[in-house]
């Protein structure tokens, strides 16, 4: 316990034990806990964060999960990247300059001197061309192909500069493609040497950190990139722990095992009131959207009046209070406040209207009420929300049976390629993640997505038409109108009852200064020490 040369985490362990022990015997150990860290200078600084999933694929061309992007964003570079802060903005990363020449041409110039590790040399415009064009290459079967849907080519003009050429204008490019998953630049040489894609572990990196170690299901370790020439990385190592359960992560944080984690909405108020020692609790608006979906093709729900009855029987305020602890606000659609396309209001009021629901049911031929199945994912917050929906809807004569599903089962409920289950699907409490452009959420509700991700089987020609138009529309106000109308069409079909965008409460130790996107998600490379 008294070896002077200790690791960061060891010291914190001692601090914890110290708090219980007598003060005099080990007083110096408390220094790091007080926010002074002379020992950091000579020791390993480790940042320990929790993410909700374990990276599956670490090739940026194939990765499509947020927790993979969190790693990739720290070890690779993009032309532009999200700016930490409370507004959705981008800043230059690998690009020295970037400009839109016309709706389909974007010119970029790379910063010289960014190198790939393992001797793969300097990053050039060739690498940019390769990285973006491979995503639309049918051979790669990239899940993020849609992000580059209208990419025609990247034309290299010289060693550092080039032009991104689009076949059609594509508005989401600046907010959800370039600074997001589709924007990572990899080394052409390295990927080709690896046979077209990185299998388990990329062979080279260019960011301030490199992936040092992968222990599946246990942790991912990033280490400082010695070849990085930009603003120096603040930590020697970043340990990322995959912990699915937020409550577990909270306990881990309180036990001193983590420096930053998202916490559950139900704990936010208590944590805010009584934060653990030396910690900061904050809440961010989220991009997620939660809704109750109805399968329009199920015999029981094919009558629009029944669907509307369900809409009126769902009481949003009580769901928000009970399942989200009053921390989240109601949603009007899939676009959260602050982004283009946000609807100010809904057709059906947030508060349930039992008389109206009953009247609609009676009109549809169910004067004695109706029995419906509600499919719910097996996580505390959805189970709570499901039970509230069930209890409240009963007052309108809608008797629901709750079926719980683990994620493997849940995510294939409405999938036509997975047998006949989609035919039996009635109500589903669903939640999708999104990105800071309405297009990202809008894409799942087109006609083409029926039986894939559009489980409500909502088919509306006007929706599809608007969806195509909005992609190319450069005028912000017009885009805004279009996305509003699209969400209105969804609600008017009766098949959707939008519930909430949730909220992202996070907690971190005051030893670090986190760098977060406006929705509270970590931009690990910009994390620093306090």
């Amino acid at each position: 316990m008294s070896k002077p040369n200790m690791q960061f985490s060891k010291i914190r362990l001692s601090r914890r034990s110290f708090l219980k022990a007598s003060a005099a015997s080990a007083g110096w150990l408390m220094l790091p806990g007080l926010g002074m860290h002379p020992s950091w200078a000579q020791d390993t600084r480790v940042l320990r964060v929790r993410d909700y999933g374990d990276p599956q694929s670490l090739d940026p061309g194939i990765a499509s999960n947020l927790y993979e992007e969190h790693v990739n964003a720290a070890v690779h570079n993009k032309l532009i990247a999200y700016k930490p802060g409370t507004k959705w903005e981008w800043q230059l990363e690998a690009a020295q300059s970037i400009e839109q020449l016309d709706p389909t041409h974007i010119k970029f110039v790379l910063k010289p001197g960014i190198t790939f590790t393992n001797g793969f040399g300097e990053m050039t415009a060739e690498d940019v061309k390769f990285s973006y064009e491979r995503i639309i290459d049918p051979e790669l079967k990239s899940p993020i192909k849609g992000d580059w849907a209208t990419l025609a080519s990247v034309d290299v003009t010289d060693r550092y500069s080039g032009i991104i050429v689009l076949s059609k204008p594509f508005q989401p490019l600046w907010m959800t493609t370039l600074p997001y998953m589709g924007g990572n630049i990899v080394s052409k040489k390295a990927v080709e040497a690896a046979g077209g894609k990185f299998a388990a572990m990329p062979s080279c990196f260019s960011g301030p950190y490199v992936i040092k170690e992968r222990e599946p299901k246990q942790r991912t370790v990033l280490a400082r990139n010695p070849e990085w020439k930009g603003a120096p990385a603040a930590f020697d190592e970043i340990h990322i722990f995959p912990i699915d359960d937020e409550k577990t992560a909270e306990m881990g944080f309180e036990a001193g095992d983590l420096d930053y984690t998202r916490v559950s909405m139900s704990s936010y108020k208590n944590l805010k009131k009584k934060p653990p020692k030396n910690s900061v609790v904050e809440k961010y608006p989220s991009l997620y959207y939660v809704w109750l979906g109805m399968n329009m093709e199920h015999p029981k729900l094919s009558d629009e009046r029944v669907r509307r009855a369900v809409q009126y029987a769902v009481d949003i305020p009580s769901i928000l209070e009970a399942a989200y602890d009053g921390v989240a606000d109601p949603a009007t659609g899939y676009v959260p406040p602050g982004l283009v396309g946000h609807r100010p209001d809904t057709l059906v009021p947030f508060k349930a209207d039992f008389a109206k629901a009953k009247a609609l049911l009676a009109e549809a031929g169910y004067p004695d009420g109706i029995d419906l199945d509600l499919e719910v994912r097996n996580k505390a917050v959805y189970i709570a929300a499901g039970q509230v929906i069930q209890a409240v809807a009963a007052q309108a004569g809608i008797r629901m049976t709750l079926n719980l599903h683990d994620s493997g089962s849940f995510w294939s409920l409405g999938d036509e390629s997975k047998g006949d289950r989609w035919k039996k699907l009635q109500l589903v409490l669903n939640r999708f993640s999104s990105a800071p452009d309405p297009h990202y959420a809008a894409q799942w509700f087109t006609k083409e997505q029926v039986g894939v991700w559009n489980w409500e089987r909502f088919k509306n020609p006007e929706y599809n038409q608007l969806y195509e138009q909005a992609l190319a529309e450069a005028d912000k106000d017009k885009r805004d109108q279009m996305y509003r109308r699209m969400q209105e069409l969804m609600e008017a079909s009766g098949a959707y009852r939008f519930i909430t965008h949730e909220a992202v409460p996070v907690i971190y130790t005051d030893r670090i200064i986190p760098a977060l996107r406006p929705d509270g998600m970590p931009l690990l490379r910009y994390f620093t020490t306090a």
Partner: protein, 314 residues
């Protein structure tokens, strides 16, 4: 004896094969698709199909089972499509964590259970013997996950004496040991009772045997008799109990691993069932079933060696 062993091992192999086939067929009628989970929300139908082909899920069921068994026989558990690593590597890594936990639990249970049993046997039919008896039955009865939850609540959440989650920093023994205490306590508590009762019973039997009586006649003190002569004999049944208990141990390890968010084979199986990660489920199940069958086989064989009557019963 050799014949018995051969028969027993043969049976063990058959059990493993039947178990695999059974599980394989169950897994394949399960609704849910690993592709949606592996590929994430943005998977297209074509990509899913591609993955199915890669995972061999498009082949007829029988072909899948046979080829899987063939690979297992060659010691190959296949690849995990999530992390692109050999299943065996992942499973054995997690198995280590579980074995450490199980070993720690059993060790402290024996350290406490054996002396308790001896004490009970020496002071048989006294009030304290009865007290130990009631205690033993009591701890056997209480569900281990309730013990886990209560100890998490009191020692980690309320008193904050011990860490609540995880297995500790790898390479830092002290930290890992601290993370081990609560889960090992929860799993081991019931075994203290088992072992105490078993040691007491076999000790009483041994103490009645002739050579012990003779030792007593020579005037050796009771404690010397108990600890020097009787204990060695009385401890044997405990060892065989551990063999048959491994299944129970793994089951309670699942709960301890989930409550304390520890890595381990139980949590691995739980997580991979939930995400429909078939290669991992199968690998983990095969390994733990083999482990289970192996330990029962060994303990049965030891039993048979000690007690010829058992041999005939098979």
């Amino acid at each position: 004896m050799l014949f018995y062993l051969l028969k027993r091992v043969g049976l063990a192999v058959v059990i493993v094969v039947v178990a695999v086939v059974l599980l394989y067929s169950m897994i394949h009628v399960v609704p849910g698709d690993p592709a949606s989970v592996i590929l994430g929300p943005r998977a297209t139908p074509e990509m899913k199909q591609e993955l199915h082909k890669l995972m061999g899920l498009d082949r007829p069921f029988v072909v899948q089972v046979v080829s899987f068994l063939g690979k297992v026989a060659r010691g190959d558990l296949g690849m995990d499509f999530f992390s692109q690593r050999p299943v065996a590597e992942i499973v054995f890594k997690q198995l280590d964590e579980t074995l450490v936990l199980v070993l720690a639990s059993i060790t402290w249970a024996m350290l406490l259970g054996i002396p308790l049993g001896c004490y009970s046997a020496v002071f048989r039919n006294t009030f304290s013997d009865k007290l130990v008896g009631v205690f033993s039955i009591g701890v056997i009865a209480v569900p281990s996950f309730v013990v886990a939850l209560y100890s998490l609540l009191f020692f980690a959440v309320t008193l904050q004496w011990l860490p609540a989650i995880g297995a500790g920093e790898s390479g830092q023994l002290l930290d890992q040991a601290r993370h081990l205490i609560l889960p090992a306590f929860a799993i081991g508590l019931g075994w203290v009772g088992y072992i105490a009762r078993l040691v007491r019973a076999s000790m009483l039997e041994v103490l009645n045997e002739n050579h012990i009586r003779r030792a007593r006649a020579f005037g050796l003190p009771e404690t010397t008799i108990v600890f020097h002569y009787a204990l060695k004999l009385a401890i044997l049944p405990t060892v065989t109990l551990l063999g048959t208990g491994i299944g129970r141990l793994i089951s309670s390890a699942v709960f301890a691993e989930i409550v304390f968010a520890r890595p381990g084979i139980g949590k691995l199986i739980f997580d991979s069932v939930v995400s429909r990660n078939y290669p991992l489920v199968m690998g983990a199940v095969v390994v733990s079933t083999v482990l289970f069958v192996l330990s029962t086989t060994i303990s049965d064989s030891i039993n048979a060696m000690l007690d010829p009557r058992v041999r005939e019963r098979l």
